[in-house]
């Protein structure tokens, strides 16, 4: 805990909004001298901002690729993976196309949404489709997983490849159709201290807190998987 009241600026991927808001409150309870400022946005946008000189102490992204680019540019110190997410299929709550298995997505006339292949959820979905050997042709490549979830919730598509956490956050409005065992791709969420940070101790304290059991419980509730402690 720092002596005087200080600010800690955390950039976090948009999909972490709920959990990190809770973690912020819990952390500030333990460290009353620290005021955590959260900035949620798309992972790539966060790294761009960092590159452009945004005042950041800690950054958590929803994929390892963007974080690796930050590492390569010496923007951040070595990251740690604090959570993981599992690819799955979401269908609208009344399941209009009667999807039961991933194979049903290959039926003609079934509208499928997935992320664009440039972002982690798109890479994962593409890999899952490739692995399944099915001929699944999506109608849209959404820019991020939230776009996919929106389309499913609004019943505009019959199914979409999303993360387990999205199914949890959507509550009863979507149903999950699990991917076949082994096809469920996993993505990792890394977190790192920014190289230029003015308060490295507090940043480190926050990193530790995210990896604490309290935070892990919050993450698990939101549907994240707990990583096996590997650094990415």
């Amino acid at each position: 805990p720092a002596e005087s009241r200080s600010e800690l600026i955390v950039f976090a991927a948009a999909s972490l909004t709920n959990t990190f808001s809770d973690i912020e409150l819990a952390f500030e309870e333990v460290n009353p001298n620290v005021d955590v400022l959260m900035n949620f946005g798309p992972s790539s946008g966060l790294v761009s901002a960092l590159r452009d000189g945004a005042p950041v102490d800690v950054i958590a992204t929803a994929n390892t690729i963007t974080m690796q680019s930050a590492v390569a540019e010496k923007l951040v110190w070595e990251p740690v993976t604090f959570a993981g997410n599992r690819l799955t299929i979401a269908v609208p709550e009344d399941n209009p196309a009667a999807i039961d298995t991933m194979a049903d997505l290959a039926e003609p006339g079934v509208l499928v949404a997935m992320c664009q292949p440039q972002v982690p959820c798109g890479i994962a979905a593409a890999q899952a489709i490739a692995a399944s050997g099915l001929k699944i042709e999506p109608v849209t490549f959404e820019l991020d997983v939230r776009g996919v979830l929106s389309k499913v919730i609004l019943d505009e598509v019959d199914a979409g490849f999303v993360y387990a956490t999205d199914v949890v956050s959507a509550g009863s409005r979507v149903r999950e159709i699990s991917l076949p065992v082994g096809a469920a791709e996993v993505v990792n969420y890394p977190i790192a201290t920014v190289q230029g940070t003015t308060s490295p101790e507090v940043a480190q304290a926050f990193l530790d807190f995210v990896n604490s059991s309290l935070a892990r419980d919050l993450l698990r509730t939101a549907g994240f998987t707990t990583p096996t402690g590997v650094t990415t």
């Binding site: 600026i9 948009a14 909004t17 808001s21 400022l37 946005g41 761009s48 945004a54 929106s150």
Partner: protein
């Protein structure tokens, strides 16, 4: 809508829109309003109440109102002179400049934010000297929100006002000049009042655009609740966690906007309000 056959009772004498015009107008209106109606139907009205008492929402609303009004003000102060110069001063390359002024409209907003960072960021062309000389950093501050909003809103104002200036009968200005009025006096006492309806309309547009600004703001000013999180950013954040609340918040934003517009239009934009 008052439409009537040729022989008709007294009060409908003047306004008989031809159906050939009324039909596309009604289609246009339906096209704009049905989606809004759909949005209202999808709005969980109970959560609007909750949202309104949530301090985060209140902060966002306050910030949005403050920054959008400031942005509209900046657009006004900077835009009216620019419009005047573009409309009235001959200089080489004017067509190009007039086209360039429109660009923030076309630029995908996130790229617009990036462009602002390249100019005013800590490593930017103007931002770097600003920081090293005066210690001022703009990005990720409320000032950055105002700048981002002004950047996207300015073209609206310039366009409206420039159009009005070109349509204006310049001989009123000539008449003022023969009465001994200096250029500044002509500008403030004749030009500006004569184009007041266009200035008000342009400022309204600029304000509305600033109020809805999202892409450039999140890129240039970040998304910090209470500091740079305007309502559109809050909507974006809420979409992640609570879709219904996000829609409800959008509807709140719309309501505020409609309220201001209706008041403003009744006051300022009545036909001839500034003329008679």
């Amino acid at each position: 809508m008052t439409t009537a056959a040729t022989r008709s009772p007294r009060r409908s004498r003047r306004s008989k829109p031809p159906w050939v015009l009324a039909i596309p107008a009604i289609i246009a209106l339906a096209f704009l309003l049905i989606p809004l109606a759909g949005l209202l139907m999808a709005t969980p009205w109970t959560s609007v109440g909750e949202l309104l008492i949530d301090p985060v929402t209140q902060q966002a609303l306050r910030l949005s109102l403050a920054t959008s009004l400031l942005a509209a003000g900046c657009a006004l102060i900077l835009g009216v002179p620019l419009a005047w110069v573009l409309a009235r001063v001959q200089f080489p390359g004017r067509p190009l400049v007039r086209a360039l002024v429109l660009l923030p409209l076309v630029l995908p907003p996130v790229v617009g934010g990036t462009a602002l960072l390249t100019a005013l960021g800590r490593r930017g062309i103007v931002g770097a000297p600003l920081e090293s000389l005066f210690g001022i950093t703009l990005p990720f501050t409320p000032a950055a929100v105002v700048i981002a909003e002004t950047f996207v809103a300015l073209p609206f104002l310039v366009l409206s006002v420039e159009g009005a200036l070109r349509a204006m009968d310049t001989r009123y200005e000539e008449a003022a000049v023969t009465l001994g009025a200096s250029r500044m006096r002509v500008f403030w006492r004749i030009t500006v009042p004569l184009m007041a309806p266009a200035v008000v309309a342009g400022t309204t547009l600029a304000w509305a655009r600033a109020l809805g600004e999202f892409g450039a703001t999140i890129t240039f000013a970040g998304n910090f609740p209470g500091r740079t999180q305007t309502v559109p950013l809050a909507v974006y954040t809420l979409l992640e966690t609570n879709r219904e609340a996000a829609i409800a918040l959008s509807v709140v934003l719309l309501a505020v906007c409609v309220l201001v517009l209706v008041i403003l239009r009744e006051q300022w934009l009545r036909p001839g309000a500034l003329r008679s």
